[in-house]
């Protein structure tokens, strides 16, 4: 499975989301590649992604996608990430 984290620069915030998503996925025992990217490269990077993690500001720019787009409010709250990833991947 591929998960993409998106922010404006492709560093910083998307990096923190990647690090914390990997921590949560390990705890949930889910295998996934998590890739941090900037919104400008969304088309290439997310073409084969199942899940996109990002902030509300980028939802419109992400546009049409087959991936589940998950909006994260607190990037440091691993409980929030856990419940949102479980809800998206749990079926």
């Amino acid at each position: 499975m591929k998960i993409v984290t998106i922010c404006g620069a492709g560093i910083g915030s998307s990096g923190i989301l990647k690090v914390n998503a990997e921590r949560v996925l390990r705890r949930l025992d889910i295998e996934a590649d998590v890739v941090a990217a900037d919104i400008g490269s969304i088309a290439q990077v997310a073409a084969d992604a199942q899940v996109i993690l990002t902030s509300a500001e980028f939802v419109d720019a992400i546009g049409k996608t087959f991936a589940d787009v998950i909006v994260v409010e607190n990037y440091f709250d691993t409980d929030e990430l856990t419940s949102k990833l479980e809800a998206a991947l749990g079926d």
């Binding site: 560093i11 910083g12 921590r23």
Partner: protein, 147 residues
């Protein structure tokens, strides 16, 4: 690549900032002071927010200001700024902001170790509140040492 060790020079406490632009500018000045970025980097960080919105407010009370790796970055570096009066960035959930981190990253490929350190500190939800309340650089260094 991990961030260089945090020093008192990289910390600015109870800074006066009238709005989010001024708050991000303070973080830019600190990054310039510690040699991590040129004077132009602060304006780049502001431009990212103008362009993409207040997404840098990634947790309640905390903004992670940053721009892309580029000519304004001299070396990886982190600035920690707390505000005398919290400011609004216009974020739907996480305003007002009382702690602004300024992050300069020289090479995108190598920045994950640096942000992993930040996650180690801030995944503890008390870290932001403790930083906002800190009155000395020594207290800040102690909070950040949690990584």
């Amino acid at each position: 690549m991990a961030l260089p060790p945090l020093t008192a020079d990289a910390i600015e406490l109870r800074a006066d900032a009238a709005d989010w632009r001024a708050a991000v500018a303070v973080a830019g000045r600190v990054l310039s002071r510690i040699g991590a970025a040129t004077d132009a980097y602060g304006a780049e960080m502001v431009r990212m927010i103008d362009e993409h919105g207040p997404y840098v407010v990634i947790a309640p009370g905390l903004a992670l200001a940053h721009a892309r790796p580029g000519p304004e970055v001299r070396a990886d570096g982190l600035a920690i700024v707390t505000l005398a009066t919290p400011v609004s960035f216009g974020h739907p959930h996480n305003d007002p902001v009382s702690v602004v981190l300024g992050l300069a990253i020289a090479t995108a490929d190598e920045h994950l170790a640096a942000v992993a350190e930040l996650a180690n500190v801030f995944n503890d939800s008390s870290a932001i509140v403790d930083l906002a309340a800190a009155t000395t650089a020594a207290e800040v260094l102690e909070i950040m040492r949690a990584s």
